[in-house]
Symmetry: C2
Subunit: 228 residues, 2 copies
DNA sequence: TCCATATTTCGATGATAGTCGAATTATTTA
DNA sequence: TAAATAATTCGACTATCATCGAAATATGGA
């Protein structure tokens, strides 16, 4: 006898490799036009259209039309979380080309996990914040300290902005590449955005991998003693 | 171009309704013999065998042989978490029988989420612990207070036992029926076990729904002012 | 207005995967 | 030891689903 929600409904949407590829692209937290998603998933536009319609129907993705362009994005953070959870338990793929090795390394170094930083950089960021005493990991949970509040203020991340966010404020997110936790929640997101503003990090073409700039290396080192 | 882990690998295992049903049964955190899983999923034993072999191959489930019986269980808490995440974003099923309504209500009231209590009771438990000041939800994270430590000591849950657990100590788990958080982690698990010892809760037949005993209603009311 | 581009819609095809009957294997029980 | 029970293995069948070619629709630009 089967009662309660059925895990297979959403899982069957993710189970197709082309759809999984599309969703993985969308894990960068941005909207992408249908044509780009088709290209990224290595399928024809009509196939992508078919898949996107399926995901749109059950609110896994949302759609925004701009002229001839249809921009799709992941519907909400819960969907993104489910995806990241799945990625964390998925086996690493076999490497088939030098190009894939490079991109894999780039992803492992730093990438978007929907709206915050993941990968080695994301984990290092969290470790540094702990080392500096700006956040504490007590009873396996995370709090911002007084010093941390001062730090955020100086770093132009006013705490009230962070706290106003409705969702999870500070929490850990299991990182598929590091197998440790990186910083997520509103704080993770605000830091992510701030690093962009300062041009300490930038997006790489055609991937959700993130590149750190030389200014970023310098800044993260001076500010948080992060060496990369 | 596709790099990094592929979400479709694990998702494709969950995408089959029969396998999803099996995994949902296994969310009660216990081992179940293959025959029972076949019955619960409403498939023939040979079909169940085929599905279980697939899941065993990629370490979604693990196997323990006892004589003619093959007991399967969910491999680890990460798999369980991925499942619960998927369930939280899955649409509620259409109800087709009175029996299903009843079981659905039972699941909503209280059920196992792998190794801790979920449902209305699970959420109420967490709320009560907060109301009593035994845990605090600060900056959206959870800590045990001094009063909470005393409470746990008196309730025969020594803190060192809780802290010895390697995994998450105290955290929140999004509940698919309540759309709020219930208590998870080592503390959630220890309370779950303690309620069993005291016979405040008991398992129901053929479902992962949990029944509260009259002793449990009394005990939870006296101890934590929980009214049900 | 016509052409180019982005995207969707439709239909047919081929591959895949879940299912069960039959048979076999493994273990327990009388 | 034979019979019963639990479970697996094998093979054939059928239904489903992803794919692409073709065509149609929607929008932008010259």
């Amino acid at each position: 006898m089967r009662s309660g929600p059925d895990a297979s409904t959403i899982a069957s949407l993710i189970s197709d490799p082309s759809r999984a590829a599309i969703l993985t692209v969308l894990m960068d937290g941005r909207s992408h036009p249908a044509g780009d998603l088709a290209y990224a998933a290595n399928i024809k536009p009509q196939t992508a259209s078919f898949h996107l319609a399926k995901m749109l129907e059950v609110n896994v993705v949302s759609l925004e039309k701009q002229g001839r362009h249809r921009y799709y994005r992941i519907e909400n953070i819960e969907i993104a979380k489910a995806l990241e959870t799945l990625l964390a338990i998925s086996p690493q793929p076999k490497v088939k080309s030098f190009k894939q090795v490079t991109e894999n390394e780039n992803l492992r170094f730093a990438r978007t996990c929907y709206d915050h930083l993941a990968g080695k950089l994301g984990v290092k960021l969290m470790d540094a914040l702990v080392d500096k005493g700006y956040i504490i990991e007590e009873s396996n949970e995370i709090l911002i300290t007084k010093e941390g509040e001062i730090f955020l203020e100086l770093f132009d991340i006013p705490l009230d902005i962070v706290r106003k966010k409705r969702r999870s404020f500070v929490h850990k997110c299991l990182d598929w590449s590091e197998r440790r936790h990186h910083l997520a929640g509103a704080l993770g997101h605000e830091l992510f955005e701030r690093f962009f503003e300062l041009q300490w990090i930038e997006r790489m073409e055609k991937t959700r991998a993130i590149r750190i700039t030389s200014a970023g290396r310098k800044g993260l080192n001076e500010l948080l003693s992060i060496t990369l």
